[in-house]
Amino acid sequence: MKKHNFVTIADLNKDEIMYLIQMAQEFEKHPNRDLLKGKVVATLFYEPSTRTRLSFETAASRLGARVIGFSDAKASSVSKGETLKDTILMVSNYADVIAMRHYIEGAAQYASEIAPVPIINAGDGAHMHPSQCLLDLYSIYKTQGTLENLNIYLVGDLKYGRTVHSLIMAMRHFNPTFHFIAPAELAMPQEYKLYCNQYGIKFQEHTEFNENVIADADILYMTRVQKERFSDLMEYEHVKDVYILQNDMLGMAKENMKILHPLPRVNEIAYDVDDNPHAYYIQQAQNGLYAREAIFSYCLGITLDDIINDKTIIKSKY
């Protein structure tokens, strides 16, 4: 069987993306199963990310797998100077699949080239975060009923925000129109605008963020201005409060419009937005569980038919 890695969303074609979304739909109907009973999943987190790690570990646990790993490189041999290659090969002896988060860009790609077991990229520096991307796609599909022909507004840190970069790449199959709303310091990098041109993806850039600008949105994708991505903290202080979504900016929004956010938020969505029916970011995080159940299954050679005809579904009596 060909080894299925899940390292970048750019590798996947339209059919593969829709296949994974269908898998996630099945897992949403029945999240608790013994489909991965007897399997061992490793989660190697070279930088802390509690939310992503818990989501992966919950997905593995709810499918009956056991989980090993570390949540901080300080607790592993990395602090003794072990190379990534040695760590990956060592863990490959123990686990059936490795989900890894690293602060170094391209780490997961490299790991996937040397490891005998499938590698899942749980984020590599400012580069890619494909599992977040799949849950974003699933959230868009669920709320809009389609991925085709949508107006998607990306707001905030478009320079360092890897989730928005992955989203552009994955959406190229679905004829989207993007709107990039960011301060000049955090504008969409040239390489991604070139990518849009290369694939015929329509986009507009705005520096204004107000009720009128977002009135045509189907999806309003907010991002956090991440302190840890700045080398100059003065620059961070300067831009962090610029793009904040307030409840009174949603008066002209389309009925189907949903607000997404990869979380955690700091202050970029005011708390009074939470009760607005357009808010979707908490449910979005829950979709991450189903998306990651789909990713583990895909990497371990389980098919959509296996999931639909699964005899291991656990139906709670309560």
Binding site: E105, G106, A107, D124
Partner: protein
């Protein structure tokens, strides 16, 4: 030119003048034990000022030639046997570069792990390289060699 022709070896012509010594270094000619003649700032109708390097009794492998493409993609290598040019090799920019160029992204895995770099040449006309690992693009004119 006031330098005599060589009997056997390689003559590298049409080197952009400012790249001459990079070519010398890339080919390890400072350590050469055969005669090497370096011509620098010579007039050229094609490129203004050029460099020429003549190396006696030395013939280059394809791997060495692809290294040259990184600093001087338009140069010509004349293979000389018995004072005659028996072959003219132009340096083609390859589709991929393995272990030749450093990634300029300090956070790239290739700068943090003992491993070979790997670039795809995404635009040969403008000389744009893209790192296979971190996807950062760089201009072939500004690369640092491994």
């Amino acid at each position: 030119m006031l330098v005599s022709a060589i009997e056997n070896g390689t003559v590298i012509d049409h080197i952009p003048a400012e790249k001459t010594y990079q070519v010398v270094d890339l080919l390890g000619l400072r350590e050469s034990d055969t005669p090497v003649t370096i011509g620098y700032n010579l007039p050229s109708k094609k490129i203004g000022r050029k460099g020429i390097i003549k190396i006696t009794n030395k013939f280059f492998s394809n791997e060495e030639i692809s290294r040259l493409s990184v600093v001087a993609p338009k140069i010509v290598l004349n293979v000389i046997k018995d004072y005659e040019v028996v072959e003219k090799k132009t340096v083609e920019t390859p589709d991929e570069l393995h272990g030749i160029v450093k990634c300029n992204n300090p956070k790239c895995i290739t700068n943090n792990e003992p491993m070979q770099t790997y670039f795809n040449v995404v635009d040969k006309e403008h000389g744009v390289l893209k790192c296979h690992y971190c996807d950062k693009e760089q201009d072939i004119a500004n690369v640092k060699l491994c």
